[in-house]
Symmetry: C2
């Protein structure tokens, strides 16, 4: 049997960003609307700084309006909520994103609840979870949205396919299951309590692994020809001892890539698979929000 096709998430994300940029241009020219994304960063966590800078740069590169609001680590909950309220009311802003985690004295669930569901481009609010679960137009979490795009590109019509999602988080596993169900898959949600996980996964035409356990999914779990989407990211020291001593790391997914690619029909690598899709989908969600807020298009 031939090896799996490697799904190039980086290339797909680049194409998606081009599409977003074209949509932004059309919105500007035809409707005088410039989609705007506001990112709120509390404190000076190094990793968050990098994420927020990337988001800002990609937002600008797509021709959109970008704002980054940096608040001190000791900002009060009230001041943070006041800023969110201001952004909710600002007609030049269509997406509001608070970079998590926030310092311990701030309550993440209250912050999420303060974001207008119509500007909730991370798809975190209860309202968007309910809209998704009810089959209504929703803003959905970016990572499962990116997985869906890769799956539709790999398989075309998903109707009637058997899909297994491993992991049931609110941000990944559960919305992923809802999206696969909306695409007419038969959907199984498996998790740490599931019995005979290999046997469950072996039934699936589509496997989405989102548990965060490095290389858990083995070759003999996979039905030959299945499409495997690896959402997990674990970080380990580099295999090169010199590089490792210098602090270099390598990223590993939930799937034992080298052996699974000999069985699967298509597979996302880590890195370069699902990861690059996330920010591209954030931009796409911001355009979607801008259209809906202005009553434009579908």
């Amino acid at each position: 049997m031939s090896e799996a096709r490697i799904i190039d998430g980086k290339a797909f994300a680049a194409k998606l960003r081009e599409q977003v940029a074209a949509d932004v241009q059309a919105l500007k020219v035809e409707h005088g609307v410039t989609p705007g994304l506001a990112v709120v960063l509390v404190g000076d966590d190094a990793a968050s700084q990098v994420y927020v800078r990337n988001k800002g740069e990609q937002t600008l590169a797509a021709g959109m309006h970008s704002e980054t609001h940096r608040l001190p680590a000791d900002v009060s909950q009230d001041d943070l909520l006041a800023l969110v309220g201001k952004l909710n009311a600002d007609p030049s802003i269509h997406g509001v994103l608070v970079q998590f985690p926030v310092p311990d004295h701030l309550k993440q669930s209250d912050i999420v609840a303060a974001i207008s569901p119509d500007k909730d481009v991370d798809g975190l609010t209860v309202t968007n979870a309910g809209r998704l679960a009810s089959g209504l137009p929703a803003l959905t979490p970016c990572t499962p949205l990116g997985c869906m795009m890769l799956l539709k590109d790999a398989l075309g019509d998903l109707r009637g396919k058997s899909a297994v999602v491993i992991g049931r988080s609110n941000l990944m596993g559960k919305p992923m299951a809802q999206m696969l169900l909306a695409a007419d898959c038969t959907v199984t949600i498996a998790h740490s309590r599931s019995q005979d996980l290999p046997g469950i996964v072996r039934q699936a035409d589509i496997v989405v692994a989102a548990v965060g356990r490095a290389e858990m999914v083995k070759a003999d779990w996979i039905k030959p020809g299945a499409v495997v989407i690896d959402v997990g990211i674990s970080r380990f020291p580099s295999r090169d001892p010199v590089a490792a001593a210098a602090g270099k790391t390598r990223l590993v997914g939930d799937v034992a890539f080298d052996e699974v690619k000999a069985v699967a029909g298509a597979i996302t690598p880590v890195p370069g698979g699902v990861g690059p899709m996330t920010i591209a989908c954030l931009l796409a969600n911001t355009v979607t929000a801008a259209k809906r807020l202005n009553g434009i298009g579908a």
Copy 2:
């Protein structure tokens, strides 16, 4: 092999109503709170009249406050929404239920959206769907809630069990899947687009059939010993030709009861299985809402 245990939903519902009545009594004595349920009925549909009368009688029998608001079939959307708003604001009312269907000139989704999520004892609102999907305290639709109670009674701990839900409606299949997932089952949602439905169902320790196709689920679909919950209700003419000529009907579930009971470990009959649970769960939801609205207990 021995025949399946027949799950007596009528007896279970009677016990549940007793428990609700005891909870109501305790709320009155200890907190001075009398749970109140308001039902809104538009027009004079005969079946709806019967349902609404049953709800009112059972609400009173549990010691609760009951109101029925009858509106003419030509009531305007505005007048109906104004009544819902008044009930939302009324501190003596903890559950607000509009009996569906409503006449065609009224928009069901807008009516549901007007009900306060904290008084939405039918679990119809997007907010409650989102709360359920997010693992937050929710008011959930009554029929899947009743199914969960019967399953927990039949099986004890559901953890790690493999459950298949056939049907994916917003009111039954989807919330059922969420509840089974919250109880740590491995959950598969199957539907009309699923391939090899018998093979999928045959994997399951728990089968919940909610499609509305009479006697679709056959004996050879069922793993020996599985627990089968039949939510479907189809109505046919009586088998007795004289009774049929007189308009007598019989109810049939989604499961071919006579053959499946020879294979299953336990099974709900139709009628007398899930059906009687629904109003009892509506009363239980109203007590839950009354407690939460008054900041009492869990």
